[in-house]
């Protein structure tokens, strides 16, 4: 009986702690993390085509690249203040160098739109030429502004 109570209490504590952790995350954090996850899924569609590991599908590629381009503009608005850095991989540098940080969203929008345009036109070679700029922008922005995964 004692053991059961102890287990139940321990369970309750775990639930309370995790609830606390969840509520500590600002809604912007959840939204931008969802965007990043969606972008990762899009990249997993695009990369094999860009590498030639998967057959080129212009429609699918255009769709995935456009999704990245559009999400970037939404994501830009989801870093309102340093208060939303808690429990995330966002670096304080974001709010110290806000305009530089926001510039990356414009750059990735442009790069992704560019690749999408070629993909929609069915121009595989041009798509492959335009594609690397997307990933380069990801790395360029993550390098100063995103803490490595732990």
């Amino acid at each position: 009986m004692k053991a059961t109570i102890r287990t139940a209490l321990a369970g309750l504590v775990v639930v309370m702690i995790s609830a606390g952790a969840a509520s500590a995350q600002a809604p912007e954090v959840v939204q931008r993390q969802d965007i990043m996850k969606a972008n990762a899924a899009s990249m997993r569609v695009l990369v094999p085509m860009a590498r030639g590991d998967q057959p080129f599908n212009g429609m699918a590629a255009a769709q995935a690249a456009t999704a990245i381009a559009e999400s970037a503009q939404r994501a830009k608005a989801l870093f309102p203040s340093a208060a939303t850095a808690g429990g995330t991989r966002a670096q304080p540098a974001i709010w110290e160098r806000k305009s530089e940080f926001e510039g990356y969203f414009d750059r990735i929008s442009e790069a992704a739109r560019n690749a999408a345009r070629f993909a929609a036109a069915g121009d595989e070679a041009a798509f492959k030429g335009a594609f690397p700029a997307i990933g380069q922008t990801c790395v360029a922005c993550h390098t100063p502004f995103q803490r490595p995964a732990n």
Partner: protein, 293 residues
């Protein structure tokens, strides 16, 4: 007659080779420079510093180091260095005046470079714009600020000498080993260190739970199936080094973001493939650094 033709051909090859080498030193050096990632520690990117003008802070458990100015400026940089000075710095970790470097400068890896790569690297660095910005002094606590003690550290942890190919391994794996060990100096961050800052040679590439004492984790890149990259396909490795994308579709940032942008993305596909061939056959090290790595 045959002998004469042979000698003539030999001389012609020698002649064209040296002419080619002279014209090509700087270009080769640029490639070595990228592969060795010199720009990272010697450039204060955060403050828009000039390439190789130094000033970047490197925090360690022993204090802060600042990457020095290694442009060819005669006073502020290394402009007065001879070829022998340059080789001694990389091969033996010593300044032209004989003082020992701290191993935050990874001469422990660069010692494995060929003389040719070192001199081409110097030719390239000397072709870049110079900067008169003075190098910042390190801020180390006692006794770590006593440079002479580095002599003892070297006795314990440093094995000088050029890379030697393993005849039992393929040419590709040996090239990969050279790129990974001598130039990329990957083990310097991707391995744990002991209390004196020496690499745990029994756990090379097994990741670091507390990198440079700053609380950052560096992934286990050994081919251990559960805790390393053992489950990665060759395409996964290629993508990481070429573009920085992980198998999950995330893109690396932080220090590895710099490595990808400055180094691995600039290698030839054959050299990336060689590094991967090497990394996939090294000893798997069991150390969990991150969940589900």
């Amino acid at each position: 007659m045959v002998r004469f033709a042979f000698i003539a051909a030999f001389v012609a090859v020698l002649g064209s080779d040296s002419a080619f080498a002279q014209a090509d030193d700087v270009a080769r050096g640029a490639y070595v420079f990228a592969a060795a990632g010199c720009a990272g520690c010697h450039t204060d990117v955060k403050n828009n510093g000039q390439l190789l003008a130094g000033g970047r802070e490197l925090k360690t458990p022993f204090g802060s180091f600042f990457g020095p100015n290694i442009t060819a400026h005669p006073e502020a940089g290394i402009g007065k260095w001879t070829d022998a000075d340059f080789i001694r710095a990389l091969r033996h970790g010593r300044r032209p005046d004989g003082a020992h470097y701290f191993p935050v400068f990874p001469y422990t890896s660069f010692t494995k470079m060929t003389d040719r790569d070192m001199l081409d690297l110097k030719a390239y660095i000397f072709s870049l714009p110079v900067s008169a910005q003075p190098s910042k002094p390190n801020t180390l606590g006692f006794p770590f600020n006593v440079r002479f003690l580095q002599f003892g550290w070297k006795l314990l942890y440093f094995a000088p000498g050029e890379f030697r190919a393993d005849p039992a391994k393929s040419a590709e794996i040996n090239r990969g080993a050279y790129l990974t060990q001598a130039l990329g100096h990957c083990a310097e961050c991707h391995s744990p260190r002991d209390g004196f800052g020496g690499l745990r040679t029994d756990m090379l590439y097994g990741g670091d739970l507390n990198h440079a004492g700053q609380g950052t984790k560096v992934p286990n890149i050994s081919p251990h199936r559960e805790t390393g990259l053992g489950k990665w396909s060759e395409a996964d490795y290629i993508e990481l080094l070429a573009s920085g994308m992980t198998p999950e579709g995330d893109f690396v940032g932080g220090d590895m973001g710099e490595v990808v942008a400055n180094s691995t993305s600039k290698l030839t596909p054959a050299d990336r493939a060689a590094m991967i061939a090497y990394l996939r056959q090294i000893k798997p090290v069991e150390q969990r650094v991150r969940g589900g790595n």
